[in-house]
Symmetry: none
């Protein structure tokens, strides 16, 4: 079975609002194994809306609309759906009562045009609205289904979970399961190259790659009779991918890099402090996204000036004048310095040229050094990033966090830390 | 002239990402007077993509696609567009050079499949990509235009502003000029209420509001024979809006809050340091977005633990035990402490409960105090935010920065600072 999502509303065509409903519905349909091949947006115009309905009914088994169920004259979705399916609109008593109750709860007077919302195409399955006034419905017609849903996301989502999912489940065979692996340190095209054989031969499970800023997600999706069996199909493919990508896979599902890093620190009771120059607080900011990090995060210092690097971190003036603030040597002294000052077992530092000014031929914009001090042992890394100032700084945060994660894991695995 | 927006990508059909590109493009097209009647989304499937192209070319004068220009095999948009327009794909030397430079700047090896991105349909207008690898282009064919744009929003938006708007302008009569005013400290619906009379009576110029996280942009757009004349139309409307919103308008055009704040500090030679608890580096991170801030930004301290607040900032143990870490008193001592330790004329502090844990009835999640020390004088403010951990922290940064900006301006205007 496949579905098309048809959003109705001139405000979408004008770009006044973003179509989050389409994303929500698409995701939930994917969860229950209904394919979506097209999504469309059309304005509050009866001619174009009629055509969009016709087209969607040609292309899909199920057409799910959002919006256009309101009380005003330019709310047309239900009227057009009734016309195209040849159904009369009939007053639904329960829907009317619920709209009346809604207005009385809100202490507002119900206007005459609100009654329009209680009319439903005959013989359709009504989806009552527990968060607003417009009910939705499902119209079955010659093997096709039209589902009408209200536009406001909180009304639509409640109705979708309460009524639409159970309604659609009756038509589904088999169950879908999926698993997401999260990857850092290799780009999308490189991941694709590494997984080429797996990607070429995929059928069930399927494997899809998604690039996000600085990372890649891999979604493995399988279909089977039961969730258990679908998961059994995923398992060997996941193992194969893990074997190829190794510790570039940092997490699963909704996990972020900072979640994984924070969990590692907390699990192994390792305290951390950071000393930032070019990232100027963003690295600490990212680490502190992880709730509970306070158990291990001691402090952060934004030592942007040389003076602060000397006074707050104990970097030596000689190092700064001989190698410069943006150097491996300074990065290492910063990492060591913050460890000592904060009394932590791990210290991370960043220093680089985020631009747009400050670059030279020897040290161009985008050059970044990071330092890591783990249990007194020192590591450094050099990056050459591109992009604007903010992008360079954000890429630094992700890359340094991933680099430190990989070293931390090695150290922990070695058993000496 | 009218346009159809066609987004290409299975990740949209699966609901993995939301189609913000369609909103962005729709809004910008509305600004320059191009109507959009349909938006569509189709997956990385050549048959369905071909059909979607055919349909869009029937319905619209201009078809603008996003996505599917990547290096992998399932990136098909350019290939299908070339097929449908009967154009060959030819290697564009400049595009190839830019891709090679991109990889060399990133210190990564360019894989063979990246070359595919430098092939462009013959005789089309190339839109080079200054933020990524895939160039876009415009293909003119029998009175219709196909515009291909990359999928990542930051690449697409830069290309749209730099190349697509000027390209489309040649088909438009008259000249458009627009001005953006940036607002912080009042929500979108409040701005709409305050500007209701202006918004109701708008024709030329038009006024459009755009809500972004924590702020609102007001775009005034006028059409006239010349740019000069269009600007003359904008001027009185801008003045009217400025009279109504006063210092809630913090900047213009591309300016960010940190740009405006940084410029103020540099212009008046005022040094600054920040002490952060709940924002944990994000406030420093935001300030340091402004290039050149190093002239005035001395240091930042992420004093997440009580111990760090005492040792690094000189907050008294008595204050922490009597009022708690999240209190007006602690915020003030943190602001004063960082000023003294760093020897700056301005110090800003944040302390709050970002959640999800740590809240109580008296001090719920979302409670945030900020402190400001300017030239020895102390100010504080209390916020009650809602939302998730990261959202609360980011709202804090914006709100505190805007609050400090307003006080700083008052102080500077008073002539005593």
């Amino acid at each position: 079975m496949n579905a098309e999502i048809l959003a109705v509303g001139t405000e979408l065509l004008l770009g006044n609002i973003v179509n989050t409903n389409a994303q929500y519905i698409a995701k939930r349909l994917a969860d229950i194994g209904i394919d979506v091949y097209f999504q469309s947006v059309v304005g509050d115009n009866s001619g174009r809306l009629y055509k969009a309905f016709e087209l969607a009914l040609q292309r899909a088994d199920i057409v799910i609309t959002t919006g256009g169920l309101g009380p005003t004259q330019d709310d047309l979705t239900k009227e057009i759906a009734a016309e195209i399916s040849g159904k009369k609109l009939l007053l639904d008593d329960k829907a009317l009562r619920m709209i009346e109750e809604y207005f009385s709860r809100m202490g507002r007077t119900m206007t005459e045009n609100n009654k329009k919302q209680a009319y439903i195409p005959e013989a359709s399955k009504v989806f009552y609205n527990y968060r607003g006034t417009a009910p939705g419905c499902a119209i079955e017609m010659g093997g096709k289904i039209i589902i009408l849903l209200p536009g406001p996301p909180r009304e639509m989502e409640e109705m979708f979970e309460r009524s639409v999912i159970p309604y659609l489940s009756q038509f589904q065979e088999g169950v879908l399961a999926s698993k997401i692996l999260r990857v850092c340190g290799v780009g999308e095209s490189k991941v694709e190259e590494l997984l080429a054989d797996l990607l070429d031969s995929q059928t069930n499970p399927t494997i899809a790659l998604y690039a996000k800023f600085g990372e890649v997600s891999i979604r493995i999706t399988a279909k089977a009779e039961t969730e258990e069996k679908a998961k059994d199909l995923i398992c060997p493919v996941e193992n194969e991918i893990r074997k190829i990508l190794g510790n570039h896979i940092y997490g699963e599902g909704d996990q972020n890099l900072e979640d994984v890093f924070g969990e590692l620190l907390i699990k192994h009771k390792k305290s951390i402090a950071v000393a930032e120059s070019c990232t100027g607080g963003l690295l600490a900011g990212r680490l502190i996204n992880y709730p509970g990090i306070s158990a291990v995060f001691k402090e952060g210092v934004v030592a942007y000036s040389n003076e602060a690097k000397i006074r707050r971190l104990g970097v030596s003036e000689a190092t700064l004048s001989q190698y410069g603030a943006v150097s491996k040597e300074t990065a290492l002294e910063m990492a060591k310095g913050i460890c000592i000052k904060a009394g932590t077992s791990i210290g991370i530092s960043t220093t680089g040229i985020a631009g747009p000014g400050g670059g030279s031929i020897e040290k161009p914009v985008g050059l970044v050094y990071a330092g890591l001090c783990i249990d007194g042992e020192l590591y450094s890394v050099k990056f050459n990033f591109t992009g604007k100032r903010q992008e360079i700084r954000e890429r630094t945060v992700i890359s340094v966090l991933d680099w430190a994660r990989k070293i931390l894991i090695e150290k922990l695995n070695s058993g000496k830390f």
